[in-house]
């Protein structure tokens, strides 16, 4: 039956190709857009996985999640920010399950090395940062607690900064000027690459105490809090809030965020985006199906005589039904197959620019839907063909 169907379709090559194109575009679009959506989601998931499940964020200002997501109050670093490194010390002192608090403050400063000048993001933090953010060094070592305590002028360089300053050798032990003051390069971070368009290697890390003196600020942009009890993050979050309120902060001055909560919010948003992208693409699949139904109706009318002749020589209702259904299914399956190839091909090509993640379910669903579209759009015309009276069909001019 498939052989007859293919034969009939080859007679109208251009028409068949154009009909297939509708399905090709639909299937390819579903796979491509879903792979982009999933790529975004997996990047976000990786970022959170790297942070681990035993971390809690403390940030200035009130951040809301859920329906009205967004930040109330001022951005970090403004006068509303009342978080200082001392806040972290208070938290660690009062809650036994807290292993470490790591304040992070960021700013931009001019950096010069052997006549090369650059403006570079400077990050002030404590030695525990290396453990929490998993920041191994390619040269030298991350500074230790003594650098924190002694406000030593040591700097850990990101790879991008080295590149910008044309440093190709191991610079450990050499001098560099940051905001006019001389620092000793203690180490170079292993390159992490960029995530979501953000270069993670474009920074210089210095001890928090040194940062406070150099830039004359005592505010932190955010704080990591590491707990030994990841099973009870929610109660730890409540305990941290209590400590902050007791240390004369107001409820709207800060946010204590469980990363799971952040991840859930991000996943929900990205999931909706992926579904919306897939849904929009699925519309073109439906349009493709309408194209098949349309062309099959034309074909049935055009081939009235053929149907009459086939019936005259002994074709039954089922013979004619299955012939036209086979044509519709062949069109949609071919379209589905080509669509899968083009969709995955484009996703792989696009991988050079954005992270795409091809999922088997999107291939399966779009292929299945294209088959379903073929059956449903072909059924009407096929029934119309099978019901034709052989005499009327033979007499049709």
């Amino acid at each position: 039956m498939m052989k007859i169907a293919i034969g009939a379709l080859i007679i109208h090559k251009v028409r068949s190709l154009l009909t297939i194109l509708g399905i090709v575009i639909g299937v390819a679009a579903v796979i491509l857009l879903v792979s982009i959506g999933n790529g975004l989601t997996s990047i976000v998931n990786e970022q959170f996985e790297e942070l681990g499940t035993d971390l809690i964020f403390v940030m200035p200002g009130k951040i809301k999640f859920g329906d009205a997501a967004g930040r109330e109050g001022g951005p970090p670093g403004t006068s509303n920010n009342k978080l200082t490194p001392r806040t972290g010390i208070e938290i660690q002192k009062r809650i036994p399950s807290i292993i470490a608090t790591v304040p992070v403050a960021t700013t931009f400063a001019s950096v010069s090395y052997k006549g090369e000048d650059r403006v570079t993001p400077i990050l002030g933090t404590t030695s525990n940062y290396a453990i929490i953010r998993k920041s191994p060094t390619s040269f030298g070592t991350f500074f230790d607690a003594s650098a924190d305590n002694g406000a030593k002028k040591v700097a850990i360089m990101g790879q991008t900064v080295l590149d910008d300053l044309s440093i190709t050798h191991d610079p450990t032990g050499e001098k560099i000027k940051i905001a006019g003051q001389t620092f000793r390069i203690a180490g170079v971070l292993e390159a992490k690459g960029s995530a979501l368009g953000n270069d993670q290697d474009d920074l210089i890390i210095i001890p928090m105490s040194t940062y406070e003196r150099t830039f004359d600020v005592d505010k932190v942009n955010y704080m990591y809090v590491k707990t030994s009890d990841p099973e009870h993050l929610a109660s730890t979050v409540t305990a941290i809030k209590d400590v902050l309120l007791k240390t004369h902060l107001k409820a709207e001055d800060f946010s204590v965020v469980d990363p799971k909560e952040l991840l859930n919010t991000a996943s929900t948003i990205l999931g909706s985006i992926t579904a919306a992208l897939g849904g929009i693409a699925a519309i073109s699949l439906v349009v493709g199906g309408i194209g098949i139904a349309n062309i099959m109706l034309v074909s049935v009318t055009e081939r009235t005589k053929e149907i009459g002749l086939r019936k005259a020589v002994g074709a039954t209702y089922r013979h004619i039904l299955s012939q036209f259904l086979a044509e519709a299914i062949f069109l949609s399956l071919t379209g589905g197959l080509v669509g899968v190839l083009i969709g995955t091909g484009l996703s792989l090509l696009l991988r050079q620019f954005v992270n795409t993640d091809i999922t088997w379910w999107s291939i399966g669903i779009s292929f299945g839907v294209s088959l379903l579209v073929g059956v449903t759009s072909g059924m009407g015309p096929a029934i119309k063909a099978a019901r034709k009276d052989p005499i009327d069909a033979l007499r049709y001019e």
């Binding site: 007859i4 034969g7 009939a8 080859i10 007679i11 005589k305 053929e306 009459g308 002749l309 086939r310 019936k311 005259a312 020589v313 002994g314 074709a315 039954t316 209702y317 089922r318 013979h319 009276d389 052989p390 005499i391 033979l394």
Partner: protein, 220 residues
């Protein structure tokens, strides 16, 4: 007796009123006969052929084919009988465009699920018989009208039918080509094939051994 009809009638309902196309047709046709059904346009001769050819069922009356009552069979049963026992040759050939001559001839085999090497050989034999053994893989649009009708005859014979129906088989052909086609029918009849032909041309009807005249839906 191959065909026997007893008072078969056919009427159509058009716009609420009933139109009688055939009235009380009783006739018998024996195996091996060559019968022409003659009549004017609108006389009902084609309708009679469609009933005898099991394309449609009579409104009333009895039709026995090979002694079996086939008057009121469901569509699919009639399709199976058409496939195995009846061959059709139409005025406008009705070949499938874009399909080779040999595959056109083998089309009825598709619906009887017999398509082996012996059927392939028989299709070639039939095409040789109608003088087209050098055209097996041509497409219908590469053939003349007479050649197309020869393909149609070969197709009608592929399942070795009991009876061959021809509906104005020379109607679309010039007289010389028409005569060649009629020669083929004469030969087939001589070999014992039962042929029932519908025509309005006396010169064509003359090839038949018996002529049944139809006028206003009745045998006259």
């Amino acid at each position: 007796m191959l065909i026997a009809t007893d008072n078969i009638s056919k009427s159509y309902t058009v716009g609420g009123s009933s139109i009688d196309v055939l009235n009380d047709i009783s006739l018998t046709i024996d195996k091996g006969e060559f019968v022409a059904i003659m009549g004017q346009s609108g006389s009902g001769k084609s309708t009679l052929m469609y009933i005898l050819g099991l394309l449609i069922s009579p409104t009333s009356g009895t039709y026995l084919l090979n002694g079996d009552d086939v008057s009121t069979l469901p569509g699919d049963t009639r399709a199976h009988l058409r496939n195995g026992k009846i061959g059709f040759v139409f005025q406008s050939f009705h070949l499938l465009p874009g399909v080779s001559v040999i595959d056109n001839v083998k089309l009825p085999l598709l619906y009887s699920k017999q398509n082996g090497p012996s059927e392939q050989a028989y299709a070639k034999e039939l095409l040789e018989k109608v003088g087209l053994s050098d055209r097996l893989h041509h497409k219908p649009n590469q053939l003349s009208g007479g050649q197309q009708q020869r393909v149609a005859i070969a197709r009608a014979l592929i399942n070795k039918p009991d009876v061959l129906f021809a509906d104005e088989p020379t109607g679309n052909l010039d007289s010389k080509t028409g005569a060649e086609i009629m020669d083929i029918f004469d030969t087939l009849n001589k070999e014992g094939k039962t042929i029932i032909m519908v025509t309005h041309e006396k010169s064509i009807a003359r090839h038949a051994k018996r002529i049944i005249h139809i006028q206003d839906g009745r045998v006259v």
